[in-house]
């Protein structure tokens, strides 16, 4: 019955061509994991950078898990969205990274991608906005055969996560 605290923040994002960005995030775990407290998913505010090109969200993450096994270590999945001047939202990138497995503070950079779609969709996206989105969001963090998916690179999301592990040594996991 080991425990894991994930405490940190989604700092912000860089490298996106769009300016007003916000981020939906969630943490996916295997069946062995149990959320004791905290909120598993959330959404940041829309940040429009005034200076520089980094959108700062500084969105707090505070989760407390209990686990009976190592499988299904928490995975953080992100969706970066942009809001245009009309207030419409469109997808700017999907991202995924594992929560680090060693205790301490970690600076994470999570690169993102977005589906490219057909040329018509690309054209439509360039002119009227919108864009292709995954029908099933779990493909972001699951290892389904992605080889046929054409994607374009998005920017990078920066995270700062602190980890506290408890009682892993009891079960022979050194950390």
């Amino acid at each position: 019955m080991a425990e894991v605290h994930v405490i940190g923040q989604i700092m912000g994002a860089t490298g996106f061509s769009e300016s007003s960005l916000f981020c939906k995030w969630g943490i996916h775990t295997g069946a062995a994991w149990k959320l004791l407290s905290g909120i598993r998913e959330g959404q940041t505010q829309v940040d429009t950078p005034q200076v520089g090109d980094m959108a700062y969200w500084s969105h707090p993450i505070d989760l407390h898990f209990a686990t009976k096994g190592l499988q299904g270590w928490p995975r953080l999945h992100l969706q970066v969205w942009s809001q245009d001047s009309f207030g419409r939202c469109q997808l700017a990138g999907y991202g995924f990274c594992h929560v680090p497995s060693s205790p301490g503070t970690h600076q994470l950079d999570c690169p993102t991608w977005r589906p490219l779609g057909s040329w018509r969709e690309q054209l439509a996206r360039a002119f009227v906005g919108g864009g292709p989105q995954l029908l099933h969001g779990d493909a972001i963090y699951s290892g389904a055969d992605r080889y046929r998916l054409h994607t374009a690179a998005g920017g990078t999301v920066h995270l700062e996560l602190g980890l506290l592990l408890r009682h892993f040594d009891r079960y022979g996991v050194e950390c």
Partner: protein, 1058 residues
């Protein structure tokens, strides 16, 4: 377009030239006069426009005009010369360039044909110009090198190989003397290859043939080797059902950029995605358990299969065996315990517990065995039916065959059985001994009798094992009727696989089916599975493989973790009490009490949804019939007429096995007292029919309410007072019947009707009594420790009597019951009604309390944890349980200076109840707070059946008298031989702390605020001298018409007494 533009330019120029001619003088004269220039420009533009409009129609004339302007060079040059030097801004510069060209052109005159366009004209000009300008002696002009196409191709063919795209004969592709072998024709499954143009393919083949080793690229069929899918090493042999190119999980959808609806935020979508799961099922075949086209034999066969499956399931569970083993274990334990029967409290208690468990287990054991037998019986019956049917109809359409095998029982088992018999006898003996020890063993007496009963109808262990096989030969189809042929359930392909896996496997090996054919993919999978079966492939399907193997701990352990539970509760916001406290780091630091209390409070607040028993249990029929059977047998055996019929202890049925409609309530009215008779003198309205007997009229007034809590009562027997309307028109009581008891009872007995009723439930339901595990308190104060010991010792003495020393209050804090008792003044209105009649006031108050709605205790009353609210809360919420009613009534009585105590006991009407006992000068009165009725101690109609426990504000007393019926009990609780008290007389700190509430409502008309404040001050409630006093205040203004207001002020002071 270019052409016409050029022309336009020309025209522009031309027209400008014209205008220039016209305006030339003006320009020369007024060079500075811009206005004029502007004006003229405007004119020019106008003209230009006109020209443009007419352009289309005048294409020919344009050309002519062109010519005119090209030809007479002198004229033009003159004009241009003038125009050229005119300062005209950008227009001028534009046309200037043209005119420059033209001037050059002029100097080298050339012929123009009519259709020459201007562009050519300009280029030619340039070329000529270059040739003329560059010196011919430095350069030699040569024609570009050029080879004729055919020549070129001929040269290339020497170096470049172009394979022909004509088809290649098979002989060239294959080794000599070999015919192309086409696998598809031979019946193999060949997946479709990617589409290639025939010509491309031919070209490739031709090319390969010219290469050394090129033939190795060809398959036996003569085609080029190729994979069906170029990006996979091997093709999977499952049918590719999803024609869509993309994995469905990766499907994208184009979504328009939309403004998010703030109400239904995007987060919902994410949540929704998390909830979406897909379960893929592969249904290999269908086996009908019933079908409208089944013939009789098939129906029977299906039933037999069902029964057989059920039997096998039961066999696998093997409950009887488990119970049997439990019995043996219990027997051993009992032996051990009875050997050292040095009557210490503890061993006695555990022994008693063992006996109880033995009887219970025995019951269960017999029940399970009975089920097995009835199942076997119905199997054999069905099989007999099938056999006779087959004989009757002359053919067999199902391959079912049932055989019974006799199983030899182990000698050891038999021995055990006998021992078991012995054991129950010895048990009886010990019980007999114990019974002498006192009435605390009384509960065991019926146990013994029951054991006897079960011993008699002991069931021998099952020695017959049915074996089902599908070996019967079917009658040939041709001999069967037509209908049967269509519906032969066993003929459906696919079904036999499931029936005999081993045979199928052998068959598959023999036949050597094409492993690649997707048609057989399921079969192949099955065969593969069979091959690996001996190995470590689990029989079950798991979403996350190898999860269990790597788990640190089991799921249960994780669920059990108290720390995790608390953390989750805190996260859910349900842990209001502990919200701000730090969670203990280790489980051992968390007392169990927290959860039990939590559970109780939750139960109290949330109404537990009741589950129908039939939802839980399905097979109960046998049980009912079994009990009825034994009943019938007993009836035969018993003597026909008895002078004094005895009530028999019936078989008990576990409550779980009973469903709706199974329970009958048997009510027998033994005798009735004081039934009013119809007054014949009263003549009533003619519309009523008075032909019914008077009894049937009275029946309407009998309400027997039975709740589930009443399971505690095995049977109800006693005298009930019939609730009759206060005024019963048309009926009189005959005085002769009432008189003998009237003086004895003292109440308004005359107007009460009594029925002596025996009621019980059929079938008898065994109820579970559990011994609550008393938990150690985390913060054991002296008093609680004492209370716990008190409770334990009381229960050891009289396990059937109620004792409650500590309860939880509304905040979940454990307190002594004595803390609830404090004099409380009743509402003023009640006191005002009978100012001089104190007895009437008491009745009124009791009536008032009885009007407060009762919440039934949803909890198991045996678990030893109660939550009581304080009287103030009870009255403010206008709701309370039985004990809270009693406490409230007691507190009101204390206000009148009465000696009042709360009695905990059992009533034949309501089960566990709390009454209020008041001590009058010469007698004790028992008040039922739920009805407001008052009974004297020796009232034979008092529904209270037992008096178990008493408490007031100072102490708790437990009844240790042999008899606990109210009539036999001595209520003088100061005698320690009759009443065991919780706290010794000189115990300090019993009145540790209590809160005295005093307060009252003020009602007055509204005149102004000051008068109300004055009225509040006049009460003097604020002039209390207690140091830590708190006040409570509430104001209510009731509006009446015409702005007339009624003001209610509720005042209360709370003083903490040390």
């Amino acid at each position: 377009m270019k052409k016409s533009q050029r022309r336009e330019d020309m025209e522009k120029k031309m027209s400008e030239d014209n205008s220039a001619e016209e305006n030339i003088d003006k320009h020369l004269q007024n060079e500075e006069n811009q206005n004029v220039i502007e004006m003229s420009r405007g004119k020019v533009r106008e003209k230009l426009k006109n020209v443009q409009i007419n352009q289309g129609e005048k294409s020919l004339t344009h050309l002519l005009i062109d010519k005119i302007y090209q030809w007479p060079k002198t004229e033009v040059s003159f004009d241009e010369g003038l125009w050229f030097f005119m300062p005209r801004g950008d227009e001028g510069s534009n046309s200037g360039r043209c005119s420059e060209q033209r001037s050059v052109n002029d100097s080298y005159p050339k012929h123009f044909s009519l259709d020459d366009n201007l562009q050519n004209f300009a280029e030619d000009q340039g070329e000529d110009f270059m040739q003329e300008v560059i010196f011919p002696d430095l350069l030699e002009v040569k024609a570009a090198e050029y080879e004729v196409d055919q020549e070129q191709i001929r040269k290339q063919q020497a170096n470049i190989f172009v394979p022909s795209n004509s088809p290649v004969a098979n002989e060239r592709k294959l080794p000599k003397d070999m015919m192309p072998r086409i696998l598809e024709d031979e019946g193999f499954y060949i997946q479709r290859k990617p589409e290639i143009y025939k010509k491309t393919c031919n070209k490739m083949e031709n090319r390969l043939l010219t290469v050394e080793e090129g033939k190795s690229w060809f398959e036996e069929s003569g085609e080029i080797m190729s994979l069906p899918s170029p990006i996979r090493q091997s093709w999977n042999f499952r049918l590719n059902t999803s024609k869509g190119s993309l994995n469905p999980a990766l499907k994208t959808i184009y979504r328009k950029a939309v403004k998010p609806d703030l109400e239904s935020s995007m987060r919902n979508k994410m949540e929704g995605q998390r909830e979406m799961y897909q379960l893929d099922l592969n249904i290999v075949g269908l086996q009908f358990s019933h079908h409208p086209l089944f013939n009789q034999e098939q129906v029977l066969c299906a039933r037999l299969l069902q029964l057989y499956e059920c039997f096998q399931d039961r066999q696998q569970q093997n409950l009887p065996q488990l119970l049997y083993e439990k019995l043996i274990a219990l027997r051993d334990a009992t032996k051990l315990a009875s050997e050292n029967l040095e009557i210490s409290q503890l061993t006695k208690k555990s022994l008693q517990d063992y006996y109880w468990q033995i009887s219970n287990t025995k019951q269960l054991y017999d029940l399970e065995r009975g089920k097995d037998f009835s199942l076997l019986h119905s199997i054999s019956r069905t099989w007999k039916q099938i056999k006779s049917l087959r004989q009757q109809q002359g053919f067999t359409s199902t391959p079912v065959k049932l055989q019974f095998q006799r199983v030899k029982m182990n000698k050891c088992d038999e021995q055990n059985q006998e021992e078991l018999l012995e054991m129950s006898e010895t048990q009886k003996k010990t019980e007999g001994k114990a019974f002498k020890n006192g009435d605390k063993w009384e509960s065991l007496s019926y146990l013994a009798s029951e054991l006897e009963e079960t011993d008699i109808e002991r069931i021998r262990p099952i020695t017959l094992m049915p074996q089902l096989s599908f070996t019967t030969e079917l009658t040939n189809l041709s001999k069967c009727s037509l209908v049967l042929r269509n519906v032969d359930a066993r003929g459906v392909p696919g079904i036999p696989w499931l029936i005999n896996a081993q045979k199928l496997f052998e068959w598959a090996n023999e036949v050597k089916i094409d492993p690649n054919n997707p048609e057989y993919s399921d079969l192949m999978e099955f065969v593969m599975y069979m091959k690996h079966k001996g190995q470590d492939i689990p029989k079950y399907f798991r979403l996350e493989q190898m999860q269990d193997e790597f788990n640190f701990v089991s799921e249960e352990e994780m669920e059990k973790s108290k720390r995790f539970q608390l953390l989750q509760l805190r996260n859910a916001g349900q842990l209001d009490v502990f919200l701000l406290q730090q969670m203990p780091l280790y489980d051992k630091e968390i007392p169990d009490l927290v959860f039990q209390m939590k559970k109780l409070i939750m139960k109290r607040i949330v109404k537990v949804s009741k589950v129908n028993l039939s939802d839980v249990v399905a097979d109960y029929e046998e049980i009912v019939s079994a009990s009825q059977l034994t009943y019938a047998v007993c009836k035969l055996v018993e003597r026909q007429r008895k002078l004094k019929p005895q009530r028999k202890e019936r078989r008990k049925v576990a409550a779980q096995t009973i469903c709706d409609g199974d329970i009958k309530i048997l009510v027998r009215i033994l005798r009735a007292y004081n039934i009013p008779t119809r007054n014949t003198t009263v003549n009533s309205s003619p519309g009523h029919d008075y032909s019914f007997s008077s009894l049937s009229k009275i029946k309407d007034n009998i309400y027997i309410n039975i709740f589930d809590e009443m399971i505690i009562e095995k049977q109800i027997s006693g005298t009930f007072q019939v609730n009759t309307p206060p005024v019963l028109l048309g009926y009189t009581w005959s005085k002769t019947h009432a008189s003998p008891r009237e003086d004895y009872n003292g109440q308004n007995f005359k107007e009460s009707t009594f029925l002596n009723i025996f009621a019980t439930i059929e079938p008898q339901i065994s109820y579970v009594t559990c011994n609550p595990e008393l938990d150690k308190f985390s913060d054991q104060t002296d008093v609680f420790k004492r209370a716990q010991i008190f409770k334990k010792s009381c229960q050891a003495m009289f396990p059937n009597r109620r004792v409650t020393a500590t309860v939880f209050n509304g905040e979940g804090i454990q307190i002594l019951v004595t803390r609830y008792i404090k004099a409380l003044n009743p509402p003023q209105q009640l006191l005002d009604i009978f100012l001089h009649d104190s007895n009437a006031t008491l009745d009124l108050i009791a009536h008032f309390v009885s009007l407060i709605p009762v919440v039934p205790d949803v909890l198991d009353e045996n678990d030893g944890f109660d939550i009581w609210m304080t009287s103030e809360r009870c009255i403010s919420l206008a709701i309370g349980n039985k004990e809270e009613h009693a406490i409230l009534l007691c507190n009101f009585f204390l206000y009148f200076g009465k000696k009042a105590l709360v009695v905990l006991g059992t009533s034949m009407l309501e089960g566990q109840v709390a009454y209020v006992l008041t001590q009058e000068t010469d007698e004790y009165l028992l008040w039922n707070p739920l009805t407001g009725q008052c009974h004297k101690q020796f009232d034979p109609f008092c529904p209270l059946q037992s008096v178990d426990c008493l408490f007031d504000d100072g102490n708790v007393w437990f009844n240790i008298q042999q008899n606990n019926t109210p009539m036999a009990v001595h209520f003088d609780y100061s005698k320690e031989s009759f009443w065991k008290q919780l706290l010794p007389k000189d115990f300090q700190g019993t009145n540790a702390q209590s809160i005295q509430v005093t307060g009252f409502p003020i009602q007055m008309p509204y005149t102004d605020v000051q008068s109300i404040i004055d009225a509040v001050y006049q009460t003097g409630i604020h002039s209390s001298e207690f140091p830590q006093i708190e006040f409570a205040l509430a104001v209510y203004i009731h509006p009446y018409p015409n702005n007339i207001l009624s003001v209610w002020v509720y005042l209360a002071s709370l003083a903490r007494h040390e």
